[in-house]
Symmetry: D2
Subunit: 310 residues, 4 copies
């Protein structure tokens, strides 16, 4: 793909200015009260699925780069606090972790190109050692992220437990999965795309391979997502999109189109296995999805424990 | 209060063994599918309230102890990642923070007495430099925390914006607030008690006073909560209960009774102001409450961004 | 002082290019083997003085900014490691701390102006989220920092225990202190300038005042230091130079002239009290000075425990 | 070796009570002013060798446990601080690192057995989440660690560049190396034992093997060290002593005898290669050794940049 072709797609899917020149929430604006109400209406059985990985030394990071597994310290262990003969005690702890180390949201300021982040803010001005003054995860946290979730089980649709690492998911896959699910993804929805890749970590415990080549959305999905006014996309792989990517010379190009141009958050490393099994069983692929980011001031991401409620 | 009297209450409200000898989820077990369905049914207008404080240098900790405000670092700032002339870049970040520094859940292992945490596990065995092997927040995270939330606006009920620091909230207050709210708190509900104390931080920006003497639940509330099978209690102060406490010689005794004996999580430092205004306006004090803890392995707490959806 | 005047001094004291276009060690190059031998010759009584503050929660940082006191965690506490009946155990720990939080060296990359650090390297290229690729403390650590130390006890010379906060130390003070010390500061020496300001922290325990207005070297000292080819300057205050500074509109101008133009390291927050008492007693103000920085890769500073040996 | 035999050696080499019941400095007490003077007298050529590894992402830790390589963050990058047209800027940084991650001292509280650390202090009382209230590295830092250093180049003595991983260094090796060095190790000396193992890291860059089986001192060295009143022992391997150890069922038994019973600090992971080459060339194996630990409050170790000056 040429730079010109890329720019053409970017122009087509851009949401810059759509919600005002100062907007920092992007496609989350699509989650209207109507959408939230529809989301609540999806709760039929009262069953809650936690889609988050554990945050600990056993996490998915292979180490060696700027992302590592959470370091957890006890700052107080059974510290006495009175109660005389009763022996009252408390314990406290501290975590040191990359905001991108496990299940997480990418904030709008997480990626950029052409010197600008979403909505045209100058990357040089916005991004400093103090964090992201614009497009940070704190802006996304202000109204939570709660909407209707729709599972697109591409792996199942293709008849496998895990997609092969070189599979590039395209609009056809998304359409087929949506059709199989009996759901029409629409404005404000959060899409959960299942590749089965999470099993490389959760079953094989192979962190290096989990971080390596993997199936994911291809660049052709940008238009598909834009046309449907999807609010956010999550997946059970590392980057939502395929890695190392299907476009020679371009690293994570879909991040650029979705996060930077469309203003759409990506949710990464969700464990969709139990949810997918349940959806296959009852044939219901829509649910209430709740994944409120922590309001980390000027953060470019947030660890989460997303919930799907059916 | 004598130690004997304390032990008597403890015995009365204890849930040890109620959900099995190995149980580590405590009162969260009360959030049944029925309760979750009822919670979803509370969503009428689709309005979402984020109840979490920001996690940053401007947080509520006055510093000087083992709790401090989050430290946030950029591990990558606009790092080039290809895209040639397009100039693709990404940014990553890291947080270093006490799990108890702002809006948060106390896990069951957070406090104990008599050498035992909830359900009788040995504190000495459970609590080490590796964290809490039992009763950790990871156990609470497994099914999320999503239920019906009920706001008990005690400050409003008493006709003030903020309760005076020496106010000890008792069962009468809870009953009056529930009656005013037109809601009958019941099994599996999450209670949100408003004291107005959060304003000392959010309005006055007085961290020292925010951490000092404050209104909160008194020890007499233990029975009230137990009789109604409440799943968890949150408040807009530092410790849910009153500080320094109404029982001479006992520090955070309600923590001991609720967390250690009843197996009930406490949610602390929620900002309930906007939600309370809305409830006062429409007269509806129940809502869907979603506050999934991060699954910090063996953690004794978790930062959260709780959502109330009306 | 006008910008033009500042630039004139800068030009006069500049050491750029003096040790080659690639040099990253600056004035440390002045510590020749001859200087080191002379330093060793200063050891007469075998008495060692530790000049470092403690690195812990009780440190000098008042908090609230990007510098805070060290956070120390036990990652293992009496962890059993065999030995059967003997009960072998070990303990490990972790520190989280600003490299500038207590007694420390400023590396050459710590400050810059005009877009260039010492020796003309581009600040934009050198300084990234990965640290300082040029002029880092790792470059200074390569041969340690061990030389002859000379104490210039300006406070004593002026007849006070502590200089008043508005005292600007000038060349006359340095000359007088050197004369009183009976020492001629020369090439490769490390100067230790005593203001007595450390007592605001060590005696008064007033962190806010310790970080506030304070006596220190004035901008006129730049030429004096340069003419004598001093290798490094240390002091018992926060910034070696006076704060908020004697030059209107300029913050830490002496840092700029010494570190950026002369390539000279600053050692800050040394506790010189015991050493100064000893020097006053025996009349000997020269000694072996050893303050090896940690080789923090691309760090812009290093915590130290400097030793003076008489 | 039976537990009884171990206890017999322990009793023989014990220094408990030797420097008073409250002593927390152990064998460092042997570094008298006379010893320090003798150390300074070893400086003949003025050549300084830095023996410390770099503290950075490229450090020796393979990861996966509680020890990891230092994490370094820029808390300010070229932050403007006035100077108007001159454009003054500063940069600051923060490190997060295990005190045992690279070149370091083990404090006396680092290991214990039988419920007691050096000098009989109760391990349970001393070691908490607040660190080591007794026998911490802060106690060793009070007078620095500067003494005569003696290199015992066991690898060279045995005619190899690196000792094989299963070599257990015994008194015979130490005697032979000392004889070859023409030095008589004595009271207050710091021994530097060279195994060549550091090359597994510095040359092979094999962190896993560097942390694995390795040559080092055997348990028989305890008496030898004690008889000569050595102040501290350093080596170029991970644990000074051989790993996994020559005594079945006992992990790091020499740590126990030296640190806990003799009160002797261990210096680990020193890079002795350049120093050893120099000693082989000029035939001089004694030097001034300066390795002041950081006074980390209640720390059980400290990163260092040790210097040898010939």
């Amino acid at each position: 793909m040429s730079e010109a072709e890329f720019r053409e797609i970017a122009k087509r899917v851009s949401n810059w200015g759509r919600w005002g020149a100062d907007d920092e929430r992007g496609a989350l604006n699509l989650i209207t009260p109507e959408v939230v109400k529809r989301a609540a209406g999806c709760v039929r059985r009262g069953r809650v699925f936690s889609l988050g990985l554990a945050f600990g030394a056993d996490g998915p990071q292979p180490g060696g780069g700027i992302r590592f597994n959470p370091l957890h310290y006890m700052s107080a262990i059974g510290q006495p606090i009175g109660g005389d003969g009763l022996g009252f005690c408390y314990s406290d702890d501290v975590v040191h972790m990359p905001l991108q180390c496990a299940t997480q949201w990418d904030a709008l300021a997480h990626v950029h190109y052409g010197g600008q982040i979403y909505n045209g803010f100058s990357a040089e001005e916005v991004l400093t050692s103090s964090g992201a003054s614009r497009g940070g995860i704190d802006k996304a946290a202000a109204d939570g992220i709660l909407s209707r979730g729709v599972l697109l089980d591409v792996a199942r649709r293709r008849g496998v437990e895990r997609l092969a690492p070189d599979v590039v998911i395209g609009p056809t896959d998304l359409d087929a999965a949506a059709k199989a699910a009996g759901v029409e993804p629409g404005p404000g929805d959060v899409l959960l795309v299942r590749t089965g890749h999470i099993r490389v970590f959760t079953e094989d415990r192979d962190r290096t391979r989990f971080s390596g080549a993997q199936a994911g959305l291809g660049i052709a999905c940008a238009d598909w997502l834009h046309e449907r006014d999807i609010a956010a996309v999550c997946a059970d792989n590392v980057a939502v999109e395929t890695l190392p990517g299907a476009v020679p010379g371009m690293v994570i190009p879909l991040h650029m189109l979705c996060i930077r141009d469309m203003g759409m958050l990506f949710g990464e490393m969700l464990d969709l296995e139990a949810l997918a099994r349940d959806c296959a069983e009852d044939g219901v692929y829509e649910f209430l999805f709740s994944a409120p980011p922590l309001a980390v001031t000027h953060g470019v991401g947030s660890p989460i424990n997303p919930l799907a409620v059916k």
